[in-house]
Every structure is written in C-alpha cells, then in structure tokens.
Amino acid sequence: MDAQVLNYVFPNDMHPHWTLMIVLYTYLTGLVEGAFIVSALSYVFGFKSLQPIARFSLVLAFSWLVVVTVPLIIHLGQPTRAPWMLLTPNYDGPSMMAGFGYIYLIYTLVILFQILFVYRYEMVLFKATSSGIKHHIYSILTLGTNDRSKEGRQIDTKVIWLFGALGIPTASLLHGYVGFIFGGVKAVEWWFTPLMPIVFSFSAAVSGIAGVIVTYIMIKLFTKRVYEIKTETLKTLIKLLWTFFIFAFFFEMLELGVHAYSVTENWHHVKAALEGPMQWSFWTMQIKVLSIIPFFILMWLSLRTIGRIALMFWGVVVSIMLLMQVFFMRWNVVVGGQIMGKSGRGFTEYFPEWFDKEGILVAGLILIAPIVILWLLSKIFPFWESTTEGER
C-alpha cells in the first residue's frame, strides 16, 4: 500500500498539535543536562582538565533551565491553569507529564543550591567589598553567612560533591523522562519505543557539551581572552562530545534499525514518511550532513594531535553542527510523529509561522533569552579563575 499517494488523515489530525514550542522544550532540557554533566564530571568525578569550566557549565545549565518551561506555558491553551500540573497531578494514570513539574523543580533546586555553595566563599568576600544593590544580592545569596574559615570551605566542597552526585541521576531522570513522554505514547508508532528515553538522554548530553564548547570559545573570543582557553580542557570536551555522540547516534540508529527490521505494518507507514515528507529533515540533515560528517571530524579531532587554533575552529564548527543535529532530531521526533497521521494512510504537513504565538520569532527569542540570562548571571557569578584562587 502506498500511503503517500492515498494521503488520508483523520480530520482532526490535519495539523500537528505539538508545535515548534514543544520541539524547543525538548531541546532546552537537553542542553541543561549536557552542560550539567560537564560540571558534574569535574565536581563529582574529579576531571582535572574540566575544572576551569566547571562552574561556568553549571551557571550555563542554570541559564537554560530557567527558560525550559517558557515554551511549554506558551503552548498551553490555558496557560493560567499551568499550576494545576503541580496541584492536581494525575498519578492514577499515571500521566507521564504530571511528574515533570516535580522533577523540574527538584532539579532546579539541586542546581541552584550547588551554585550557591560553589560560589559561597567568594560571595562572602564580595559581600564585604561591594556596596549598594550588589551587596544586598550577595547578602541574600550567602543566606546570611560570613564564614571564611577553612573548615567552612571544606564543608562547601563536600556539599558541592553531594549536590553534583544528586544532580547526575536527577538530570538523567529529567531528560529520560522527557523521552518517556514520547516513548510511552502507543498511538504514535514513531514514538512508541523504550529506547526513546535513552536516545533523548544521550543526545541531550551531546547538545549540552556542544553548547558548552561553543559558548566557552565565543565568550573568550568576544572578551578578547582567547589565550585563556585551555587546550587540554577543549580536548577533553571534544573527546567527551565524540563519546556521547557515538552512543547517541548508535541508539538512534538502533531504534530505526529494529523498526525497519521488524517490517511491521507500522514500519511501512514510517518508512513512507521518512522517504516522503521527512526525507530532507531526517535523512539529509539529521543523518547525512549533521551526523556522519561531524562523526569523522570528531574522530579526527579526538585521535590526532591538532594545533590549538585548528582545535578551536573545528571544535566550534563541529559543535554547531551537533547542536543543529540534536535540534533536527527533536524536530523529527516531535513533528515527525505527528505528521504520520493515525489513519495509517497519509501524512500531514507542518511548518511554523514566522509571527505566530508559537512561531519562529518567539522561538528565536526563547533561544536568545538564556544568553541574556547568562550575561546577567555573569555579573553575580564570575565564571572564570577567581581572584581568591590563591587563598585556596
């Protein structure tokens, strides 16, 4: 049966109900997880080479985390009722969406407290030397403590470790959970697979690490401090990126492969979609251009001795490609699942409007917002080598 030619979808399925905003939501949660992993590798697993960017990654994760719910709320038909998600969660089902609010809140608290402890000692010092609003901000953020003792700082280190250790499973849960929101929908053949949370988790790590590399180099470039970029740090990040990408890509292909090999009735419909309306976004972009090419670039960067400038240049290029790869992957999951109509006989189309409530302009603003938030946070939490480093 040639589903594409017949092209019949149920009348209520003429357009996807989950739009670009839901694509963004899955994308942003992924970025958070990946950036957090970089900081956790330093704080919890003691990766020395990642130490220079550990706290930057943590603050970066936080700046993405605060906007995660924005696209969700914009998408709701009744945004003012969003608190019901927390106040009357459906645990009888249970609804996979109902738990997200709680996991998100817990994760936000974990990251927030970790940041407060990472910066506690410095903030105590800043509080003493600053005045005006900054003084008040530091007074609030230090939660009233003025402890400068060595013992106090040793406790800080332990607490940071604890929050980092708590954060790793929470981060995996957060994004694995997002994967399960899709993976648990049996009515949509393209989503319904237990591999979905795994695919989401690994691709999240890929996007977040790529995000750290791009922002790290760009910030240093724009502040004219490229000489501060540590080659060893960059090399470690690129190796990490390659490792996580191998897993992410492997599981993506495993999912597809199992689907294809089973040759069920559903597969015929999925295959027709992948060769039809999703041909460009899936095969051309996600797989060929943005997966296979970056794989070889990363292999080259990871396994060969590369000059510092080349490492930086190709590091940024490959990271941007992978940031796009993950975006395409999210798009192909969220939108792809919906354009395959439940009639099993056809597809619908979707391309976001430019100026719609859930359109491209709003999406652009949501993606820019974390950069502004990061800039604001940099005024309170210095990212790089601290002035008090010598005292440690």
Partner: protein, 290 residues
C-alpha cells in the same frame, strides 16, 4: 479516578439512599453536647474549616450540572448498573452526513473540528483502498471519486466517533486529571480544569480529540452524555435516518444493542491491538478500516 468516584458516590448516596435522621442519633448528639460542649463546638469548627478548605483545595474535576437528572445512569446497585455501548452498522450507513450536522449543532462544535465524522471507503479489484472524508463527510457524498481507474470491488461509509474505551489512553496521560472516566463508563473532559496541553490528543489512537478553538480546551465526542443523562439518545443516533447508529444499555435485554451484542452478528472494534477495549462496535466494517 478515585477522587471522582468517591465524590460522585457521595453525591449519589446523598441523593438516593440517606434516610431522614433517626431520633436515636439526635439523642446521641444531645448527650455529646451535654457532656462536652466545648469539644463539640471544636469538632463543628474543625469540620467547617475542613469544609471551607475543600473550596480552595483544587479538586480533580467538576461534575456536569446535570448530574441529578431525570434518568440516573449511575447506580451503586450492581443489578441496576447500566452498561452503555454504541454500535455502528456500516452496512446501513448511506453517508448522508445528517449525524455530523446534528452533532455540530447539539454540541456547538466549531467549523473545521470534528466530534464525529463519516469516512468513505472504496476498494478496487486490485485490493487498493481509497479513503476520504471531505469536511468530515458532513456535506454528504454527492460526488463520486473520479480518480480511481480500476474497477471497484466494494464501497461503504464508516462513521467515526469516540470509542469510549474501557482502558482510555487519554485518561491515562492527562497530567491534571481533567479527562476522566465517569462511574457509568463515559470518558469525559472537564473543560474548566483542562490546561490544553494536547497530550490526550496525541494519546488517543483514534484521532477523535482536538483542542476546541473556542474554549481552548480538549474536546471530543461524549456520546451526548448530557442527553443520555436525561434518558435521550445521542444526537447523531436520533438524526440517523437509517438507524445505522445504535446506542443503548447492554444490561437491558430489550435494548437493540443488547440483542445485537448477544446475537451471532460479527462485531469488530477499531485498532484492537492498542488494547484500549473500545465500547464502540462495528457491524460490517472490513479489516481495512482503521
């Protein structure tokens, strides 16, 4: 939906079964008052406080205003319990679209959105299946398909509506409990509580859900619950000129649906493999019907 069930049960009990308070209970109350006035007032106060808290603590779902209707469909008495079912006789449907018009009017469904629709199936001699449903079949099928070149083997109309599943995916996924299954088996949406996240729309295997453009909440066919509660049949059933849409109580041996259900008629459900146990049955629907 424990909360819903409990809440409804209380309402029903208070409506049907609570007898006037017996004098001996009054006597006990009097004794309580005499023994410990202060304690009694405390209890009353805490009850009042609890009661007023109920007003601010959000409940899972509100009930329809027409709960206590002329024809109660909910009963705690198992022998009186109704078991509604819907049967569509595909062989009887002429594709006139009267059901869709009636439904839109009855339920104020916005144009371009569909609580029910009628599909036209055409199968050619090579087994190729052609399906369409222009404007949900609401305007009838006066035009034949001119894009089919092969000789036609079979052709029929299939009305679609909520499958009112026993294991509804939409209820399972609703994050706030706004979609629920009533004790009499109807899957309903409380549109005063729905956040319109569209998760239920995604989860429904039958594509019967949509986000109502006017209310900005999830909407779907209710088998005209508001009419059923008044002892009437759903609007589409009443409008069907050929009786292809049938609705009734399986526990009533005199009902048409019970007679069909217990006869040798071959009944089928849609997407059986989904495991949702629909209570919408079809007579004469080919296996190509999805």
């Amino acid at each position: 939906m424990t909360t819903m069930n409990d809440f409804m049960r209380k309402l029903i009990v208070s409506d049907d079964t609570i007898a006037p308070k017996e004098p001996q209970y009054r006597h006990i109350e009097q004794e309580m008052i005499d023994r410990d006035r202060r304690g009694f007032i405390d209890k009353i106060m805490s009850g009042a406080l609890g009661g007023s808290l109920m007003l601010v603590v959000p409940m899972h779902s509100e009930l329809f205003g027409e709960l206590l209707s002329e024809e109660p469909t909910i009963s705690l008495d198992e022998s009186k319990k109704k078991q509604y079912c819907f049967i569509v006789d595909v062989t009887g449907c002429i594709g006139c679209g009267a059901c869709c018009v009636a439904d839109r009017k009855e339920n104020n469904v916005p144009e371009g959105q569909y609580r029910t629709w009628v599909e036209r199936y055409v199968i050619d001699m090579l087994g190729e299946v052609y399906v369409d449903s222009p404007n949900g079949g609401e305007d009838g099928y006066s035009e034949s398909r001119d894009d089919i070149t092969n000789e036609i083997k079979d052709s029929y109309f299939v009305p679609k509506l909520c499958n009112m599943c026993d294991e509804p995916s939409c209820v399972q996924v609703c994050p706030v409990g706004a979609t629920f299954k009533s004790p009499d088996g109807f899957v309903l949406v409380d549109n005063t509580h729905c956040v319109a996240c569209s998760y239920c729309v995604q989860a429904c295997p039958y594509g019967v859900r949509f986000i109502n453009e006017q209310t900005k909440t999830a909407d779907k066919c209710t088998w005209c619950y508001h009419r059923v509660r008044k002892g009437k049949e759903p609007a589409c059933v009443a409008a069907c000129p050929t009786g292809a849409r049938k609705f009734g109580d399986l526990n009533d041996p005199e009902s048409e649906v019970a007679k069909i259900y217990h006869s040798k008629a071959l009944l089928s459900v849609l997407k059986k493999e989904q495991g949702n146990d629909p209570r919408l049955y079809y007579i004469g629907a080919g296996q190509e019907v999805i």
